[in-house]
């Protein structure tokens, strides 16, 4: 039913809330991409079957829904039972009967499905008590995991579209821009440009035809913030965009989302259709006379299409290549018209700023980086997943308090922030506050929020090689420094990893990087040498060991080390011999084992299984 006024929005929200209150118990199954891959659809179907067969809906006043990503992807599939807040992880379809019998019918908690804190070894019953969640502050992710993203009523029940109603009926466009400026919101896609200032310039541009776009072309390896938001709370993104369109005076927009995010595309498309039906999109929004509509533009998954000018070309149907932005896209963007392009997370923050006020947002975080930031915390950390934290929190808090520390309590070596164009920070930088400017100063960057944690068994030269390879593959090839220069950087680092490094390589890398940074056409090229420059800055001795001593101290570059079992430490358990794929480890039970280095392929399987850390790199 179409909603034509603020009053009818309030009524619709009230009705939706009433429906929810009627329920005594609610079962939420996570259906984000991570949990789906772990089989959460089977779990959801098992629940639905049990509910139908055993008539639980009527018996227990039970509600059931699948939600977006809860962030704790590593432990999926996740099942949450409300209002008790019981959190079950790693649930399989065969566990559903037990959950119904024990928890839903008898109110008993199943211990074995509870989360076990890796450090205290304690089982934690409540969602909110798990350290992974208790340290977070969720604004952009505020509704994800609580609502069914496919159901607009569920979104209205938690206050969806009230920000839009407020902006359209109580605020002038310039007041909306002022509020966003005062909130201090900066672009979450990586650039960190003040959002309010971007909107203001676009509003003041002469051309009356303007566009408001959303960048959902997230492509950093290991990053899934935007995907989770699009999948889990697409209406927050749409609401933000309509508010933005009202502020700058646009009547049309696009969401540029990569084809590799099928669930995000599906949920966004459904949300657009529902929002149009209800009158939050299209003509005469909420009966105010303001019109704005959104279409989805699907990208082919080129990393460079996340760059604003390439994205706009791709939306327009041209080859997705960047252009020089001496005239900014807020003046001449899509189809040469003034265009505002913000990232998914930025848009998701906007409705909250309008409803809760700019001051509430500005009070979070640091002076120059306000609010919160979503990170995908991955790598060698115990609790991987999606986290949202106030700006200014330290890397140590994110990695050790929320992330639970390094897997197997190995020593921390570095953390890569900002995606392929970001950099690696060493242990000495762990107490840095995470905000736009501090990270840039330290030689890395905020980027869109990828955070890859690495332990002592990570070779930093190899890490640089990996990211350079990614950038070589993803460079569009339009300009010479990025196409040829990054290729040469990758070749040189490849040689170093293969044991063919030459004296002077590091100086040559630095000189070439300097030109690539200065002369490349777009931000992809200009930041492409970052992975190598930041690792050179903090881990230079590791490069030198590769070149001068022909050694890879971390035991990753296979030409540059051998494994040896320390006779002092080996307890003769034999696990290494069992795990060796080429059978090159010999030794009697309870006696020291020996590796035949001439056969060993240096795959590292023995090192990974050894319970006493007896396998050494020499």
């Amino acid at each position: 039913m179409r909603i034509n006024s603020v009053k009818s929005l309030t009524r619709a929200a009230g009705r939706a809330r009433g429906e929810r209150k009627r329920l005594e118990t609610e079962v939420l199954v996570c259906a984000g991409t991570g949990c789906l891959a772990n089989g959460s659809m089977d779990v959801a179907e098992a629940f639905l079957g049990a509910i139908r067969r055993r008539k639980l809906e009527a018996r227990l006043k039970l509600g059931f829904k699948t939600t977006g990503c809860h962030g704790f992807c590593e432990k999926g599939p996740l099942v949450i039972i409300q209002p008790q807040g019981i959190f079950y992880k790693g649930v399989k379809a065969k566990d559903v009967k037990e959950i119904v019998d024990q928890t839903l019918l008898k109110g008993q908690v199943i211990q074995r499905l509870l989360y076990r804190d890796p450090n205290t070894k304690q089982r934690v019953e409540q969602y909110a008590e798990i350290p992974f969640y208790s340290k977070q502050h969720r604004i952009a992710l505020r509704n994800i995991g609580k609502i069914d993203p496919k159901c607009i009523d569920d979104c209205l029940a938690v206050g969806g579209y009230t920000g839009l109603a407020k902006a359209l009926t109580e605020m002038k466009p310039t007041e909306v821009i002022d509020a966003v400026t005062e909130s201090g919101l900066r672009g979450r896609g990586g650039g960190g440009f003040p959002t309010g200032r971007k909107w203001k310039t676009c509003r003041e541009a002469e051309d009356p035809t303007k566009y408001v776009l959303c960048n959902a072309d997230e492509g950093d390896p290991g990053a899934f913030m935007d995907r989770s938001i699009c999948e889990g709370d697409p209406h927050a993104v749409l609401e933000g965009m309509v508010i933005g369109a009202w502020a700058v005076g646009a009547s049309k927009g696009y969401i540029y989302v990569r084809e590799e995010y099928p669930l995000a595309v599906k949920h966004l498309q459904a949300a657009i259709e529902q929002a149009r039906e209800r009158g939050f999109l299209g003509d005469d929004i909420l009966g105010t006379g303001f019109s704005y509509d959104v279409q989805i533009a699907r990208g082919g998954g080129a990393f460079v299409c996340g760059e604003s000018s390439a994205l706009m070309k791709s939306v327009a149907g041209e080859v997705g290549e960047p252009r020089a932005k001496y005239v900014h896209s807020v003046i001449r963007g899509l189809y040469d018209k003034p265009t505002v392009l913000n990232n998914v997370e930025t848009w998701a923050n906007v409705p909250w700023i309008i409803t809760e006020g700019a001051a509430a947002f500005a009070s979070l975080g640091t002076k120059k980086s306000t609010g919160t930031k979503t990170f995908s915390l991955v790598g060698k950390v115990k609790n991987t997943g999606l986290v949202e934290v106030p700006m200014g929190i330290t890397l140590r808090e994110i990695i050790y308090d929320i992330g639970g520390g390094i897997i197997k309590n190995r020593p921390f070596k570095g953390v890569q922030t900002g995606g392929p164009s970001g950099g690696c920070l060493p242990e000495g930088k762990l107490d840095l506050p995470v905000d736009f400017d501090t990270l840039t100063e330290a030689g890395s960057m905020m980027g869109s929020g990828g955070m890859i944690v690495m332990d002592d068994r990570t070779c930093m030269v190899d890490v640089a090689r990996y990211f350079l390879k990614f950038l070589v593959d993803e460079s569009c090839g339009k300009c010479v420094p990025c196409r040829e220069g990054v290729h040469q950087l990758h070749q040189t680092v490849n040689d170093i990893c293969a044991g063919n490094g030459r004296p002077g390589d590091l100086e040559r890398i630095e000189a070439l990087s300097d030109v690539v940074v200065k002369a490349s056409l777009c931000a992809l090229g200009k930041s492409a040498p970052n992975p190598i420059l930041s690792t050179l800055r903090y881990f230079r001795e590791e490069y030198e060991a590769h070149i001068n001593d022909r050694k890879c101290p971390a035991g990753v570059c296979r030409n540059l080390f051998t494994f040896r079992i320390s006779p002092e430490i080996c307890n003769g358990c034999g696990l290494c011999a069992k795990s060796c794929p080429v059978d090159c480890i010999a030794g009697e039970k309870k006696e020291v084992h020996v590796i035949d280095a001439s056969v060993c392929t240096r795959c590292g399987a023995c090192r990974n299984v050894c319970p006493t850390d007896a396998v050494e790199v020499i």
Binding site: A302, Y326, D473, S475, P481, E484, G485, Q488, V515
Partner: protein, 269 residues
């Protein structure tokens, strides 16, 4: 283009220019050399080769200065441009060094590189060597011509100029503009016995109605006539013959006598 005039400085000398002109356009007009590889006056600049990088600053920029491509940067009031500095030379040298690793055997690149003091590449030569520097002039001229027969394919180091799906391009009219604009002669073509070969395709040529020499492919003739809105018959005389015919017409109209020297030439041949 706007009629507004702006004042700018290049290498310390003051110049006036119309607003909207690029730094390169002003520099060319004033005879200040800025090297380019991917630029052509008749085509939209794209800033691909990065050889035309110059340093800019402005009295209002509180000391900020930076490198930009002269072919794309629009001039503005008070802009201060430096076209030569150690930093700029380093950028140009590195770019040519990189191009030499890609095209070690392209004489034109060897020449331009040598002019900048680079005689051999200091990098490892690319696995696949070519003479194409991917300046994209061919693609742009083909688009301006109205054909869009060729484009770029793949990305990064594997990027190449290509016809759709690697097949003979159906929209090609055989005009060879791409081959003629190419600075490194990377696009092969030939005319043999009234047949033109380019992009793996053969084009039958129209012969001049007067002298019988091949003029252009039939496809091009039809394309050009349609675009100009004239009958193809108007275009079936080669430029030399058509010039001769015009001359004859004028002479007949004004009854001008042929000069004796021309008679002599004709008699000799």
């Amino acid at each position: 283009m706007s009629e507004k005039v702006v004042n700018l400085e290049i290498n310390g000398r003051g110049f006036q220019a119309r607003e909207g002109m690029t730094i390169l356009e002003v520099a060319k007009r004033e005879g200040i050399p800025i090297p380019t590889l991917c630029h052509h006056d008749a085509l939209e600049p794209v800033g691909a080769c990065r050889l035309c990088m110059v340093e800019i600053t402005h009295p209002n920029w509180r000391g900020w200065k930076g490198l930009v491509t002269a072919c794309l940067y629009p001039v503005e009031e008070g802009l201060q441009v430096t076209t030569e500095s150690q930093e700029i030379h380093q950028v140009r040298k590195t770019i040519l060094d990189l191009l030499l690793a890609r095209c070690p055997d392209a004489p034109y690149i060897q020449k331009v590189a040598a002019e900048h003091g680079v005689t051999a590449t200091s990098f490892k030569k690319n696995e696949v060597q070519t003479v194409c520097i991917l300046c994209g002039l061919c693609v742009r001229v083909c688009a301006v011509k109205g054909c869009n027969a060729i484009g770029t394919a793949r990305r990064g180091i594997r990027r190449e100029i290509a016809a759709p799906f690697g097949m003979p391009p159906p929209d090609c009219i055989g005009c060879t503009s791409c081959a003629h604009i190419c600075p490194t002669d990377a696009i092969p073509w030939e005319d043999v016995n009234g047949v033109r070969k380019i992009w793996d395709q053969e084009f039958e040529m129209v012969r001049c109605v007067s002298c019988g020499r091949p003029i252009m492919p039939v496809t091009q003739l039809e394309f050009e006539a349609k675009r100009a809105g004239i009958s193809p018959d108007y275009m079936t005389t080669c430029p030399a013959c058509s010039q001769q015919k015009t001359l004859e017409t004028i002479r007949t109209a004004f009854t001008i006598k042929r000069p004796a020297s021309e008679d002599a030439v004709e008699a000799a041949s």
